[in-house]
C-alpha cells in the first residue's frame, strides 16, 4: 500500500508538469484559485475566451481530451494518465468547464454512434475547444424521468422537424452544437419512442433564454425549438433507439473519476478556527467540534474513496462502484455546512456582502447555491436508487408507465 506513482506514471506526470509549467495562463492562477463551488468568474476577461485559448494550446501540444483516440484530437492516453493530467492541471482545469459536457458526454456519444464523416468533422474541433457542445436532455416535465420528454421530432423527407422545449442546458448560449434527444413516436411506451440527434445551435428556430435561478445567478438556459430542421444525417443511432444512445452519454457522465467535488469542509474548518464567539473560538466549542469531526471524516472518506478508484485505474482495472457516493455526500454537506456557519454568526449570518463579518458572504452564497448540487446531474433520490439497484442489487422501481403508450400517460397529478 502506497501513494507513489509507478515509474511510467512518474514519467508521464513529469512531462505533463513541465508542459503545464511552460504553457499555462499563469496570469489567471490567483483568480482561479480563489473561486470555489464550481463558479468561475474572471474580473476583466471572458471566462469562455480564456478557456478556449487554453484548450487550443492544449490541443496543439497534444494535451486535449487525453483519453480520446489521436485521430479525433485526443492523445490515446490511459485512464490513469487522464487522472494524473487532471491533478497536474490543477486550478487551470477550472478553465475547461465549458468543454466538459462536450468532452465527457457529447463527444463519446458521437464517437459511438456517429458516421465516420461526422466524427472527422466534429470531434477534432470539439477537442480543441474551437466548437463547444451542450447537452439537450432535460425538459420542464422530464427531469429525473428524462424518458418522459416531449420535444417532438417529425420526419419530413430527409429531414426532421423539431418542436419543443429543453431546460437546464449549461452553456447553451455559447455553444456551437448540441446533443438533442427527442420523441419521434408518442404511440409507443416512453422509452421506445425516442431518437437522438445533434444539431447546429445557430439553426433557424433555436432560441436560447437564460434562466434566473433561485440563487439569483444565471448559469443555465431554456432552449426553445420552433420548426427547427435537422438533416437525417445528424441522427445518432436508429430511430426509436434514443434511450439506449442516451445511456451511453450518461454512463460517460458518471465515469469522471478524480474530479474533485467541493464539500465546503476546508472553508468551514478555517472559518471555525478563526471565528471568535462570545464563548471563545468556535472551534473550541464541543458541539462545533463534533460537527466538524463528522464533516472531516466525510471529506477524507471521499478523498480516499477516489484514491481507491485511482489505484484500480493504475492497475488497469475497472474501478468499483464506490465512486457513486461522491455527489450524494458532498451536496448535503455543502448545504449543512453553510447553514451551520451562518448559525455560528448569529444575527449577522444573514448578510451577503463581502465586507460583512468573517465569512465574507461565502457561506451565504454556498447556502443559496447548494440546493442545485443535490439536484443537477442526478438528484439525491435518483443517486440512492442507482446505488440501491446497481450496487446492492435491489429491484427497480415498479414503473406504472412502462408498457403504456406515451400519449396515454397522465400528464397532471390532480
Amino acid at each position: 500500500m502506497n501513494f507513489d506513482d509507478t515509474p511510467q506514471e512518474a514519467e508521464f506526470r513529469d512531462t505533463a508538469r513541465k508542459w503545464i509549467d511552460a504553457n499555462a495562463p499563469k496570469e489567471f492562477e490567483a483568480e482561479l484559485s480563489k473561486s470555489s463551488l464550481g463558479r468561475i468568474r474572471l474580473a476583466s476577461h471572458d471566462m469562455v475566451e480564456v478557456g478556449k485559448a487554453w484548450q487550443k494550446k492544449k490541443a496543439q501540444g497534444g494535451w486535449a481530451c487525453l483519453h480520446w483516440p489521436k485521430e479525433y484530437g485526443g492523445r490515446g492516453a490511459t485512464p490513469i494518465e487522464r487522472v494524473i493530467w487532471q491533478q497536474e492541471e490543477g486550478v487551470f482545469g477550472k478553465l475547461t468547464q465549458p468543454f466538459q459536457i462536450g468532452e465527457g458526454m457529447c463527444g463519446p456519444t458521437v464517437m459511438a454512434y456517429g458516421s465516420e464523416e461526422a466524427k472527422q468533422r466534429y470531434l477534432p474541433k470539439l477537442a480543441s475547444g474551437e466548437e463547444i457542445w451542450c447537452q439537450l436532455f432535460s425538459e420542464p416535465a422530464a427531469g429525473s424521468d428524462v424518458a418522459g420528454l416531449r420535444t417532438r421530432a417529425e420526419r419530413r423527407g430527409d429531414d426532421w422537424i423539431v418542436n419543443g422545449q429543453k431546460i437546464w442546458t449549461s452553456g447553451a448560449h455559447y455553444s456551437d452544437c448540441g446533443l438533442l434527444i427527442t420523441r419521434t413516436d408518442p404511440n409507443v411506451p416512453k422509452h421506445k419512442g425516442l431518437t437522438m440527434f445533434f444539431l447546429d445551435m445557430k439553426s433557424k428556430g433555436v432560441e436560447v433564454r437564460p434562466i434566473k435561478q433561485a440563487n439569483g445567478m444565471q448559469e443555465f438556459n431554456e432552449v426553445y425549438f420552433t420548426d427547427v430542421v435537422i438533416p437525417d444525417s445528424q441522427r445518432l443511432g436508429a430511430v426509436g433507439d434514443g434511450w439506449s444512445v442516451s445511456l451511453t452519454t450518461l454512463m460517460n457522465e458518471r465515469m469522471s473519476i478524480g474530479a474533485r467535488l467541493a464539500t465546503g469542509f476546508p472553508e468551514m474548518f478555517e472559518f471555525c478556527s478563526n471565528l471568535m464567539t462570545e464563548d471563545g473560538l468556535a472551534i473550541d466549542d464541543r458541539a462545533t467540534r463534533s460537527k466538524l469531526a463528522s464533516w472531516a471524516v466525510k471529506a477524507s472518506g471521499l478523498k480516499y474513496t477516489s484514491y481507491r478508484a485511482i489505484s484500480a485505474l493504475s492497475k488497469g482495472e475497472r474501478p468499483g462502484p464506490e465512486n457513486s457516493i461522491g455527489k450524494l455526500v458532498a451536496g448535503v454537506m455543502l448545504q449543512d455546512i453553510a447553514t451551520y456557519a451562518m448559525d455560528l454568526e448569529g444575527a449577522a449570518g444573514v448578510f451577503t456582502g463581502e465586507a460583512e463579518e468573517e465569512a465574507r458572504g461565502q457561506f451565504q452564497q454556498m447556502l443559496l447555491s447548494s440546493p442545485s448540487m443535490r439536484i443537477a446531474g442526478g438528484t439525491d433520490e435518483i443517486l440512492r436508487n442507482i446505488i440501491a439497484e446497481r450496487v446492492l442489487g435491489l429491484p427497480g422501481d415498479i414503473r406504472v408507465d412502462k408498457d403504456v403508450p406515451f400519449n396515454e400517460i397522465p400528464i397532471k397529478g390532480r
Partner: protein
C-alpha cells in the same frame, strides 16, 4: 498509486473469511451470548493454529512476522463474524503495548504465548465512567505493588495478564502515569465479570490489592505509550467495525430481497432502498478512511494520530448506522432474540465505547488537525 491491499493480503482475507464462516457461524456467537462459555475456546485455538493471533508479531517472538496490513484484513473478518474471542484486547491492546514498550524478556514470554494461543492479554485503563485521560488514572503503584480498581477491563475475567495504567507521581502532568505488567493468575487481585450490552465480548472489574507488578516501559512514559497503543488499536478496531457494518448491510439487503409485503419485495420500496443506500454510503466512507489508517499504521507515518481518529470516527458511525438500520429493515423480526440483528447492534454499540467514546475521538481529531495546520 497503489492504495489497496496486495493480492496476498486479499488472499489472507479470503482465507480468514472462509475459516471464520466454518468455525464461527452465528450459532457459535450465540453460545457465548447465551453464557454457555465466557468465550469460544475452540475458535481461539483455531485462530492460533492459523497463525492469525501472531500475524503482526515478529518471528523472533513466535509470530508470523507479517505486518499490520495483514492484521487489518484479519480484523475486518473478525468483526464481520462477530468472533466471540478476546482478540481485540489481546492482539490490538496487549500485544501492541508489548511491541511498543516491552522489555526483551517480557516480549519473549508474553508475545510468544499470545501467538501460540496460550495467553489472553488486556489493557486495564479505565476506572469507571469517562474517557481516556491521564487524570482519570487513580490506581496507584508504589514499590512494585498496585492498589485500586479498574473497570471496564475488556476480557478482564478471562485474561492471563494485563497491562495496567497506574499513577506513580502527583505533578498533575501526564508523566504521572506509568505502565505495569501483571500476571493475573499470580494473585493479589479479584476479577469479576460484569454484565454488558455485548456479552459476546466480556467486560470485567479488576480489584488490585497490594498486587505485585513489573514495570512496562520507563517510569513516567505510561501515557505516551497508551496514546500510541490507542491510536494503533483504533485503526484495528475500525477494521472490525467496517467488517461488522458490511455484514449488517448485507443482512439488510438480503432480507429486503426476500421479504414480501404489499405484494412485492420490500427492497423495491424507495423508503427501504434509500435506507440501504445510505448504509452503503457510510460503510464506504468508513472503509476508505480505514484504508488510510491502515497505511499510516503499517508505515508508522506521522499522520497516524489523525488517520486513526478519522478511521475510528467513521467506522464507529458506519457500524452503528448499519446495525441500527439493519434492524429497521427487518421490522418486527429484527427485534427478536432469534434473529441475529441484535448481535450486530450490541457489538456496534459496545465497540463505539471500547477505546473512548465517539465524542472523545471527535475531540481528538479536531485537536490533531489543528496541530497539523499550526505546524
Amino acid at each position: 498509486m497503489n492504495f489497496d491491499f496486495s493480492d496476498d493480503q486479499k488472499q489472507l482475507r479470503d482465507q480468514a473469511r472462509k475459516f471464520l464462516a466454518e468455525k464461527c457461524p452465528p450459532k457459535a456467537v450465540r453460545a457465548v451470548l447465551d453464557a454457555k462459555a465466557p468465550y469460544d475456546k475452540q475458535l481461539w485455538k483455531g485462530l492460533a493454529e492459523m497463525g492469525f493471533l501472531g500475524v503482526a508479531i515478529p518471528e523472533e517472538f513466535g509470530g508470523a512476522g507479517a505486518g499490520h496490513l495483514e492484521l487489518c484484513v484479519i480484523a475486518e473478518e473478525m468483526g464481520r463474524a462477530l468472533a466471540p474471542v478476546p482478540f481485540s484486547s489481546t492482539v490490538y491492546l496487549a500485544a501492541e503495548a508489548l511491541l511498543l514498550a516491552g522489555s526483551e524478556a517480557q516480549k519473549r514470554k508474553w508475545l510468544s504465548a499470545i501467538a501460540a494461543g496460550e495467553a489472553i492479554g488486556t489493557l486495564a485503563l479505565f476506572e469507571g465512567k469517562g474517557n481516556p485521560s491521564p487524570q482519570a488514572v487513580r490506581l496507584t503503584a508504589s514499590g512494585g505493588t498496585l492498589n485500586g480498581v479498574k473497570k471496564p477491563v475488556p476480557d478482564g475475567a478471562i485474561a492471563d495478564f494485563a497491562i495496567v495504567a497506574a499513577r506513580t507521581g502527583s505533578s498533575g502532568r501526564e508523566t504521572d502515569v506509568s505502565l505495569f505488567l501483571v500476571d493475573l493468575k499470580a494473585g493479589g487481585l479479584e476479577a469479576k465479570a460484569l454484565t454488558n450490552i455485548d456479552p459476546t465480548r466480556g467486560q470485567a472489574e479488576l480489584n488490585f490489592k497490594n498486587c505485585k507488578a513489573e514495570p512496562l516501559g520507563a517510569a513516567g512514559e505510561g501515557w505516551s505509550i497508551i496514546s500510541r497503543v490507542l491510536d494503533r488499536a483504533a485503526v484495528l478496531i475500525a477494521f472490525e467495525q467496517v467488517g461488522g457494518a458490511d455484514r449488517a448491510l448485507e443482512m439488510g439487503r438480503d432480507y429486503a430481497l426476500d421479504r414480501i409485503a404489499f405484494g412485492r419485495p420490500i427492497g423495491s420500496f424507495q423508503a427501504v432502498k434509500h435506507m440501504l443506500a445510505d448504509m452503503y454510503v457510510s460503510a464506504t466512507l468508513a472503509r476508505s478512511n480505514c484504508y488510510y489508517g491502515a497505511w499510516a499504521l503499517s508505515s508508522d507515518a506521522s499522520e497516524l494520530p489523525e488517520a486513526a481518529a478519522a478511521a475510528r470516527i467513521s467506522a464507529t458511525q458506519a457500524f452503528q448506522h448499519c446495525a441500527k438500520n439493519n434492524i429497521q429493515v427487518h421490522g418486527g423480526m429484527g427485534f427478536t432474540w432469534e434473529f441475529d440483528c441484535h448481535m450486530y447492534y450490541r457489538r456496534a454499540n459496545a465497540m463505539a465505547l471500547s477505546l473512548g467514546s465517539l465524542s472523545y475521538w471527535e475531540d481528538a481529531l479536531i485537536d490533531r488537525m489543528r496541530k497539523k495546520n499550526a505546524a
